[in-house]
Amino acid sequence: MIFVPMWDGSLGCASFLLGDEAQGQAMVVDPLGNLGADSYILGAAELGLEITAIVETHVHADHHSAARELSQKTGVPVSLSHRAPVAYDFNPLRQNDTIDLGHVKAVVWETPGHTPDSISLVVTDATRASEPWLILSGDSLFVGDVGRPDLADPTPEMVKAAALDQFHSIRDKILTLPDTCELYPAHYGASACGGLFLSSKPVSTIGYERRWNRFVQFTEPDEFVEQVLMLLKPPPESAAAIRAENLGVAAPV
């Protein structure tokens, strides 16, 4: 497997270029406007890879996505959750859909919570093992924290429902992965999408978070929701406008 995280430390955003060296096929996940679409195209060329899939783990509200520009330049459609309310044509993904790059495969897990359209990608490399080697968890489970539930719809009932979704996505899905599975969330450090406990370290393992992530320790949904809501930071100022742009609609007035 070729696996290249591409970070933007200024916003605490992570994007990924991963592929199968034998088949020469690659997938770009959450391409960042700050890095620019060209950096993914040139990065893939550098590694002898052809971009065959572009995936967004959800519609982002904290940074400009380069997914559509990358799609226009490569002719590869953008893949998003079937629940993504975007205004442009995309390839809809559902639970257990597989993005096949050859020996490297990414299985889609629907992990709503941060937004209803949040997905995670569980990645295996058949030349090593059939066991998942890493998960791109988007804005569900973070290193030390969890994705905030209030950026897609800030009305109090919806935020509460989203936090409850997050509890189940993390507990019933993500934590079923083996301890050795690596965790690569979409954010770290200064990101507006996390809270007080978001680590500046961008990578962890399921085992480490199972043991040490404070939100994972809550076994009762109510307790989890209460803690998440209590620790919310104020939303980033431009969230609504950025989200509108990433949705492909006009910015709200």
Binding site: E21, A22, Q23, Q25, A37, L42, A45, E46, G48, K73
Partner: protein, 206 residues
Amino acid sequence: MASMTAQDFMNQVQQGSVILLDVNPPHAYSKAHPAGSYNFPFHRRQWGQEVKRALNGQNPPIGIFAENSVIAQSAKDSLEEAGITVPFVFDQGVKGWEQAGLPVARVHDLTVDELLQNLDNYIVVDVRESYELRSGIIPGAISIPMGQLQARMSELDKAKPHAIVCASGSRSASVAAWLSQQGFNVANVVGGMSLWIGARHPVQRT
């Protein structure tokens, strides 16, 4: 030189006065490429200088074939920086090439499992360097390092199918495409020896 159509440029390729470089990764090139093109995968570091060195003192006009405009433009800039004339750029990929009615060549891909099942039908050519052969070779394979191939063409047989293998399948993709242009019946072994050994298929120690 003014920009020209793909057809005009290909006429000049056939006359041997210009060269068409497919700058896509080896796997993509092996899957499909303009007939008569050579593969020189683009990368960012001093790529144009490498092309210049490979031209060995000659300086023919070079055409660029790429899958998208970003790579095409970067490759053009890099060649021009190295003092090479680029009168033709095609950035619509194989799809566009076929739509323009121009000929495409393809190299057959072979998985390591397919090769094992049909091992008797192929002359296996291992194009790795000699120092890479310690891991073993496919039983019956002949070793011809990539750089010696042109000098040792007589060891190949145009009447028989060849399976070209290297460590990971990249070099072999380029070699297979080139041999195919020379009129040989060749297939590229996808993933090369890393997958052959990884699948625990038999190897012969050299």
